[in-house]
C-alpha cells in the first residue's frame, strides 16, 4: 500500500474546516482510551447494574468480574458522585440500585372447599361510567402488544378506565428481581392505583435455570427441576396473591407457542405452574391459555395464520416469540371475555 509517492508527499495542512487541528492517530487512540476509561469509572454504578442484570452465563460472570472492581475503584475515588448527583437532578435516584428482595404475601391457610362453594361463582359486580372498572396491564415485553390491543378494545367502553400506561418491562420476569423487581412493584402499584382488574403476562424471560433473590442459603436445581418449580411456584403465587388480595380480579395470559421447540417445552412448564396456581384461586384469578391460538395446522409454530375468510394474517414477530397486532387483538378479545365472566361491564348501557 505504501509507495514512494506517499512517503515523499507534501505535508498536508494540519487544520481542517473551521480551523480545527488534525491530530495523530496516536492522539486519537490515547484520547479515546482515556476518555472511555474515565467514562467507565464515572458510570461504574450503572455499568455494574447492567452487568448484574444480564442473563446468567459466562458473559455475565465476565462483566461482573470487570464492573465489580470498577465500581469499587469509582467509589473510592468519589467518581461515582457526579452520576448520583445527575440521577438525583433527573428525579431518578434509584436507577442504579439493585433490589433482589422477593417479598411475597404469606400463603393463605388452605381451606377445604365444599362442593357448594365450588359451584357458586361470585356475583358479577357491576361497573358503569359513574363507577368505572380500573384496569391495570403489566408484565414483560410480551404483554405490550396484547396490552395495546386491550386498550384499543376497551376504548369504546366507558365503564372501563385503564390506570396508567401499559406497564411492560423489557427483559423482566419473576426469576430475576435484579432486572426489575415485580414483587415490590406490584405491591406499590396495587396500593397507589387500586385496580379492580389486572391483566398480566410473565414468564417469557423466565425459561432459564438462573434465579436471583433466593432466600438465604437456598439453592435451586436447573430449569424445570423440582426445586426450581417450587421456587417459581412460590413467586407466581406471590404475585397472584399480591394482586387478588387487594381486591383485583386477575387475568394471567399464558405463554404462546414459540418458534423454538425447546423453548415451547420450557414455556409449557411455566404455563403449567401458572395454570395450577390460578385454579387455586377461583373467582379471583383466571389463566388464559394462548397455546392453540397461534399453532399452525400441524400443531406447531406458525407466524402466519389464515383467518376465517382465508386471508393470511401475520400473528407473530420475526423473533418467533413476540406478537403482532392481530395476535394482540385476539388475546384482548379473550381477556375481555374473562373479565366479562367476572364483571358486568355492559348492563349500564341498557339502563342509561
Amino acid at each position: 500500500m505504501e509507495t514512494e509517492d506517499t512517503r515523499r508527499r507534501k505535508p498536508r495542512p494540519r487544520t481542517a474546516e473551521g480551523g480545527r487541528r488534525l491530530q495523530s492517530a496516536g492522539s486519537a487512540i490515547v484520547v479515546a482510551l482515556a476518555g472511555l476509561l474515565v467514562g467507565l469509572l464515572l458510570n461504574a454504578p450503572g455499568l455494574h447494574k447492567s452487568a448484574t442484570i444480564q442473563p446468567g452465563g459466562w458473559k455475565r460472570d465476565a462483566a461482573l468480574a470487570v464492573t465489580g472492581p470498577l465500581e469499587s475503584v469509582s467509589g473510592a475515588l468519589l467518581l461515582d458522585r457526579p452520576r448520583r448527583a445527575l440521577k438525583a437532578v433527573l428525579g431518578r435516584p434509584g436507577d442504579d440500585e439493585i433490589d433482589t428482595a422477593v417479598a411475597v404475601p404469606l400463603p393463605a391457610p388452605e381451606k377445604p372447599v365444599t362442593s357448594g362453594e365450588a359451584a357458586a361463582p361470585p356475583a358479577r359486580e357491576k361497573f358503569s361510567p359513574k363507577r368505572k372498572l380500573r384496569l391495570w396491564i403489566a408484565g414483560d415485553s410480551l404483554v405490550v402488544v396484547p396490552g395495546e390491543s386491550l386498550l384499543r378494545a376497551v376504548g369504546g367502553n366507558r365503564a372501563i378506565t385503564p390506570v396508567g400506561k401499559i406497564d411492560g418491562r423489557i427483559a423482566s420476569g419473576l426469576e430475576r428481581p435484579d432486572v426489575f423487581n415485580w414483587f415490590t412493584h406490584v405491591r406499590e402499584e396495587m396500593r397507589s392505583k387500586k385496580p379492580r382488574a389486572a391483566v398480566v403476562m410473565f414468564g417469557g424471560n423466565d425459561d432459564h435455570g438462573f434465579m436471583t433473590g433466593l432466600p438465604e442459603g437456598k439453592e435451586i436445581g436447573p430449569f424445570g427441576s423440582v426445586t426450581w418449580q417450587a421456587e417459581y411456584r412460590r413467586r407466581v403465587a406471590g404475585i397472584m396473591d399480591a394482586i387478588t388480595r387487594n381486591g383485583a380480579y386477575l387475568v394471567w395470559i399464558g405463554l404462546p407457542i414459540s418458534r423454538d421447540d425447546a423453548q415451547t417445552q420450557r414455556y409449557d412448564t411455566i404455563n403449567a405452574i401458572v395454570q395450577k396456581e390460578a385454579a387455586k384461586r377461583p373467582g379471583r384469578a383466571a389463566y388464559l391459555d394462548t397455546y392453540f391460538f397461534f399453532a399452525g395446522e400441524d400443531g406447531g409454530f406458525a407466524q402466519y395464520i389464515a383467518d376465517d375468510s382465508g386471508r393470511l394474517v401475520r400473528m407473530r414477530a420475526d423473533d418467533g416469540v413476540h406478537f403482532e397486532r392481530p395476535a394482540g387483538d385476539l388475546i384482548a378479545e379473550k381477556v375481555l371475555e374473562r373479565l366479562a365472566e367476572r364483571y358486568d361491564l355492559t348492563s349500564w348501557r341498557r339502563s342509561s
Binding site: A28, V30, V31, L36, N43, G46, A171, L312
Partner: protein, 472 residues
Amino acid sequence: MLFPTATFAIFFMIVLPLSWLLMPRGERWRPFIIAASFVFYSAWDWRFVFLLAASIVWNQVFALAIHRRSDLRGRKSLLAAAVVGNLAVLGYFKYYDFFVTSTNNLFASAGIDVPLEARSIVLPVGISFFTFMGLSYVVDVYRRDFEPVGFGTFAAYLSFFPHLVAGPIVRPRELIPQIGSQRDPRYVDTSRAFFLIATGLFMKVVIANQLAANIVDQVFGAPNQHSSLEVLVGIYAYSVQIYADFLGYTNIAIGLALLLGFTFPQNFDAPYSATSIADFWRRWHMTLSRWLRDYLYIPLGGNRGGRLLTYRNLMLTMLIGGLWHGAGWTFIAWGAIHGTALVAERWWRERPGFVERPWTRSRRAWHRFVTFQVVCFAWIFFRSDSFADAWDLIVRLFTAWGEPSPLVSGGVLAAIAVGIGSQYLPRRLPLVIMARFSRLPIPAQAAVLSLALLAVHAMGPEGVAPFIYFQF
C-alpha cells in the same frame, strides 16, 4: 453488537490501534479489517456472514466479468444477471412473505385458494444497505465510471463495519480509493470524530429512546386511549425520534470511520428545516436519495422524457424507495405521499406563468412549516402497522381535544425542541466547538469525552433499544 454498548466499545478499542498498526501494510490491513467486520456482523447472527460473503463474491465476479467484456450486449447481459442476483436475494429475504400474503389475500377475497405458504423468513440485518452498495459497484463498473478493484479491497469496502448494517450508503468512488491508499496517521480528524460520536450517542440514547419510551410507543400502540394533543405531540415526537435515531447512528458511523482514517459522506443536513419536499430529500438520508437518483430515477429517464414521464419517474422512485424501507403497504403509502408531493411541487413550478418569488423570512418560515407537516403526515403511515391503525390515529387527532394529556410532559416537549431546534443552529457553531476542542490538551480532550459519556449514560433510559433503520 450495537454501537452504544460496552461490548462494541471493547471491540472498537481493539480494532482501532491494530488498524493503524497494520495500515502501512495494506496486504495485512485488508484481511484484518474484513475479519473484524465479519466478527462485528456475526454478533447478530453468525449464519448470515455467509450471505455477506456470497454478496461480496457475486458482485466482484460480475464486476470483473463486465469489465473484461467489450461488447455492449454481453456487458448488458452480465449486468442484468448481477442485478437480478442481488435483487433475488433481497427479494427472498425481505419481500417473499409480503408477496405471498398479498397474493394470497388478493385471491382469498375472490374465494380462490393460492397454494403459497409464508416462510417466516428472518431478515438479515443490513441486507438492504450492502445490497445497494454491491449494486452500485457493478453498475459503476458497467458504466465505466469505475474500474473493478482487487478482491480484498472490494471485500473491505462492502463489509467495512462502520457502514455495514445501517449505512450511510457509501459509493465505490467515495470509499474504495481511500481503502486502496494508505491513510496518513499524522492527520486524523479527531475533533470531528469525537464530536460526531458524542452527538450521535446523545441523539440516539437520550432523545430518540426517551421519546420512544415516553410517548411514541403508547400513542401509536393505542391511539384511542390518548387525547388529540397527545396524538399530535406523539406524531411530532416520532418525527424527531426517527431523525435522532438515524442521525445518531450515522454520526457514530461517520465518527468511527474518521478515527480509522476514512471519510464517509454526510447523510443528513437539517432535514426539518427544508422548505419543500424536494428540499427535504436533498437533506434526509442523502446517500439513499443520491443512490435512488443515480441508479433508479435517471435510468428510468429522469426528467428527459417530458412532464408526464418525469412525474411517473418521480412517483416510481418514491414508491420503490418506500418499499425499500419495509415490506408493507404502509411503507408504499409513505413513498406515495412523498412522490405525490414531489410531483405536485414540480407541477406548481412548471405551470405557465410561474415566477419564483424571492425568499422572505416569513415565506421561508411558512414553507418550512408546511413541509414539516407533510413529512409528519407521511410518518404516520411509516410508523403504523396497518392502514387501519393509521386511520385510527388520524381520526383521534381530531376527535379528542380537551381530554387530559399526561404524556405531554416537559421532558417530551424538551426532547422535541432539542431535536427540531438543533437543525436551526448556526452552521458555524459545530465548527467552533470542534476547533476549540481540537486545541485542548489531550488530557482535557479525554476529560470532555468522559463527561459526555457520563451525561449520555446517566440521562438515557435503561437498556439499549435497537436502531430503527436496522430493520430496513
